[in-house]
């Protein structure tokens, strides 16, 4: 069931109505049932995978907390990691490893017939696996009390608003919220609805409009010139942002109506002034997950410089691999890792030659930095979107040349111009957000109420007019 489908807009009011009408003791079982129904509407078998991952982590948590022996605790944590990651690897990476392994064997002279596993990637498997694992690791580290209520734990892993594309919640934030009785609030209902509307606008009006152009160009990049390749990549940067942040907004808005607070997943990433800043603003729940469960356990920055560089590269490479079983994702992660390290040493150099104050305070340089970070992110997005490495390489090496010809404007130039105008509209709204004039995430705002409501009504009209319905969210495949 997609957030941008008719079914969801029947499902959601029914869940809200029933949830607030039934006694508190039945609410979590009801939400659990609704969440599994939501997830199993894709393919019912997937529900069992999620159930296995959840139960293994639930049981491991119980065992870890009941044992005082650190060795046994480590054993249970390892078991949870092996089973959870084993399921993830089998469904997501097995065919990739088979292909790469066979190719390697071919290179060294072994002729083995390549045969792939016939598996379908379950939606959102990376998200619920990471969410479940964070619980076991936190219990093992003593950061979290064990959850004995199996229903609450299963609900924590499967909570439908954020189940298939995040934000990846921590047990420390979400689990306790299920223990508290929530009351219906009309204020919360309106605030959540506004966020859902904004998310829906970003998804069906902007992202899906950009998708058709991007798809056309990236399907056969070699037939297009540099300006067209650049435009397609520029569009993809906004397609993926609007698609994913749109999903997150709908998730946060839905949870807010039900009385739950999910973490913010995006904070104006294309206004970032450094790569580090970018990753503090993009897919925040995943960045912090990797920081807490990969980077810090590797030693973080309290290690030697070479080791620190190694830690950074590992985090970004794993992050790339998390997104998909393809070399393009790995290279995408590697690019960000390398840029992160270079930026770190670049900043040190600026401090050393004492021009850092100018560099950080000048408004002009601030704008230049935003443009530079965005351009570097564009190069990385090429690898994220391209079908394979050779396409990606062709695009990267051609997108900044051959600008003497106007870009191809797609089968409808008007559609392309409209898409571009929508990006400008989005940017204006984001700059207003950045300057604190408007607030999307339930904050205060200086815009008069009548103007805001007129804006929301206009968003609804634009969704009705320009909305392209029922396209899957990009991050579902991860």
């Amino acid at each position: 069931m997609l957030f941008n489908s008719f079914e969801y807009f029947v499902f959601l009011p029914l869940v809200i109505l029933a949830y607030f009408s039934i006694p508190f003791k039945w609410r979590n079982p009801f939400l659990l049932f609704s969440s599994y129904y939501f997830y199993m509407s894709w393919k019912w078998e997937f529900g069992f995978l999620m159930l296995i991952t959840s139960l293994v982590n639930y049981y491991a948590g119980l065992k870890i907390s009941s044992s005082a022996d650190r060795g046994k605790q480590r054993l249970w944590l390892t078991l949870a990691l092996i089973v959870s990651l084993g399921i993830l690897v089998y469904y997501k990476y097995a065919n990739f490893f088979i292909a790469e392994g066979t190719a390697l064997l071919h290179t060294i002279g072994f002729n083995i017939r390549q045969s792939y596993l016939n598996v379908i990637l379950p939606v959102g498997i990376s998200f619920f696996t990471f969410q479940a694992l964070s619980y076991s690791i936190d219990v093992y580290k003593g950061k979290l009390h064990v959850e004995k209520d199996v229903v609450q734990f299963l609900l924590f892993v499967s909570f439908f608003p954020q189940l298939v594309a995040g934000p990846i919640e921590r047990a420390t934030n979400l689990l306790d919220q299920f223990k508290k009785e929530q009351h219906f609030s009309s204020d919360r209902f309106l605030e959540g609805s506004k966020l859902i509307l904004w998310g829906l606008f970003k998804k069906v009006v902007i992202a899906d409009r950009l998708a058709s152009y991007v798809q056309q160009i990236y399907a056969s990049p070699e037939t297009y010139g540099g300006s067209t390749l650049f435009l397609a990549t520029f569009f993809f940067a906004f397609q993926i942002y609007c698609d994913f942040s749109g999903y997150s907004d709908i998730a946060i808005g839905t949870a807010h109506i039900l009385g739950f607070k999910l973490m913010q997943n995006f904070n104006l990433p294309y206004l970032a002034t450094s790569i580090k800043d970018f990753w503090h603003r993009w897919h925040i729940s995943l960045s912090t997950w990797f920081s807490d469960y990969v980077y810090k356990p590797l030693g973080g920055n309290r290690v030697s410089k070479p080791r620190w560089i190694f830690n950074i590269l590992v985090v970004y490479l794993v992050s790339g691999l998390w997104h998909g079983a393809n070399w393009t994702f790995i290279v995408w992660g590697a690019i960000f890792g390398v840029l992160y390290v270079l930026e770190h040493y670049g900043d040190k150099l600026l401090t050393k030659i004492k021009i850092d104050a100018f560099f950080y305070r000048s408004k002009f340089v601030h704008v230049l930095r935003v443009i530079l970070v965005f351009t570097l992110a564009l190069v990385a997005w090429v690898f994220f979107r391209a079908e394979n490495m050779s396409d990606a390489w062709y695009i990267v090496t051609n997108m900044f040349t051959g600008w003497n010809k106007l870009p191809y404007l797609g089968s409808s130039a008007f559609e392309t111009v409209l898409a571009f105008s929508l990006i400008i509209l989005l940017y204006i709204i984001q700059i207003l957000q950045y300057r604190g004039v408007v607030s999307i995430y339930m904050g205060s705002t200086v815009v008069p109420r009548y103007l805001r409501w007129a804006g929301y009504a206009m968003l609804m009209v634009m969704i009705a007019m320009f909305g392209i319905s029922s396209a899957q969210f990009i991050y579902f495949q991860f």
């Binding site: 008719f6 109505l17 607030f20 009408s21 039934i22 006694p23 508190f24 009351h183 219906f184 609030s185 009309s186 204020d187 209902f189 309106l190 409009r209 037939t223 409808s412 130039a413 008007f414 559609e415 409209l418 409501w453 007129a454 929301y456 009504a457 206009m458 609804m460 009209v461 009705a464 007019m465 320009f466 909305g467």
Partner: protein, 321 residues
């Protein structure tokens, strides 16, 4: 015992005020929806020349849209022209367009130029969503019936029915803006990329000519409808780039023969104006193998204008004696 939700609402001090706000918001949305759709609708009607009194009506898809310039034709012939052309419409759609135009116009046209091409009976290649372009005219009975059968689900149908702005899309917004501005310009600037089509295989696969009996019936019934309306029918075959025709020469000939024989049966007075032999070899006139660029549009319009003046003169007894 009261349901929890009821007691929650009783305790919610802002409930009443928020209901009022939500109601005001819904009213605002309805108002915006009506205003915007009215604006769009008016622009679209102007663009297509609907509800007008044109003496020449052109019906077709993108080939005709880009091949004939309405203002130039009006200037050269002194006749009022309505250009009801839409991207991707197949023969069934064109039939609906003809019926729609005649049910809305204030004065019947005397001449109808109906676009024909070798793909007239090919089901594939045109937009399967072309029915969406008819949504603004749901209030027309014929169009409404057509949409009812074309819409994917009942939900979609009623969404279009009740939320008027959902009847419009980017293409229709473009048409509406052009209608308000009175602009019919061909913006397909450039010349067909010959290198791209140098491989004969790519031309054969460009859009294969096939024959669908349902579309043949639609063609015949459109002609019968026009005959009943007692108008002069011109079947206009706009230029197609020669290498594309050569790639499917046999099918092309077969299609043109079928068009001719069906037209003679359904509407004996209909005349076929074939501009392919005259212009198809001139690559400079094409934006792509099937669409004219502005220069192509200019010369084709000139030719259509001459033809219209000729037949008008003949009809008025001023033709060559």
């Amino acid at each position: 015992m009261k349901p929890r939700l009821i007691s929650d609402l009783e305790n919610d001090k802002r409930w009443g005020r928020n209901i009022l706000r939500a109601s005001a918001f819904i009213l605002l949305f309805i108002l915006l929806d009506l205003t915007i759709s009215l604006f769009m609708q008016t622009g679209i009607e102007r663009f297509y020349g609907l509800k007008g009194d044109a003496s020449v009506l052109m019906i077709g898809h993108s080939h005709l849209m880009l091949a004939v310039d309405k203002p130039q034709l009006e200037q050269e012939t002194g006749l009022k022209v309505a250009k009801y052309t839409r991207e991707g419409v197949n023969m069934a759609d064109r039939k609906i367009m003809a019926e729609h135009y005649f049910s809305t116009c204030s004065d019947k046209p005397k001449t109808v130029i109906l676009s024909i091409d070798p793909w007239l009976f090919s089901g594939e290649g045109l937009s399967s969503n072309s029915w969406l372009l008819f949504l603004p005219f749901m209030n027309n009975k014929n169009v409404n019936d057509y949409i009812k059968t074309s819409a994917g689900s009942r939900f979609d149908y009623y969404r279009y029915k009740f939320i008027r702005s959902s009847r419009f899309n980017a293409l229709l917004l473009n048409a509406s803006i052009r209608g308000w501005l009175g602009r019919w310009d061909n913006l397909k600037i450039g010349i067909v990329d010959t290198a791209r089509y140098s491989d004969p295989e790519s031309l054969r696969n460009f859009r294969p000519i096939t024959f669908n009996s349902g579309l043949m019936n639609d063609f015949s019934s459109t002609l019968r409808f026009l005959k009943k309306e007692n108008v002069q029918v011109i079947l206009l075959n706009t230029p197609i780039w020669k290498p594309l025709i050569d790639a499917q020469r046999q099918e092309y000939e077969k299609s043109m023969y079928l068009i001719d024989s069906l037209a003679q049966k359904a509407c004996p007075g209909a005349e076929i104006v074939d501009l392919v032999p005259q212009f198809s070899a001139d690559t400079r006139l094409f934006f792509d193998p099937i669409h004219m660029n502005p220069e192509g549009q200019r010369v084709v319009t000139e030719e259509v204008g001459k033809y219209l003046i000729g037949i008008r003169r003949e009809a008025a007894g001023m033709g060559k004696k």
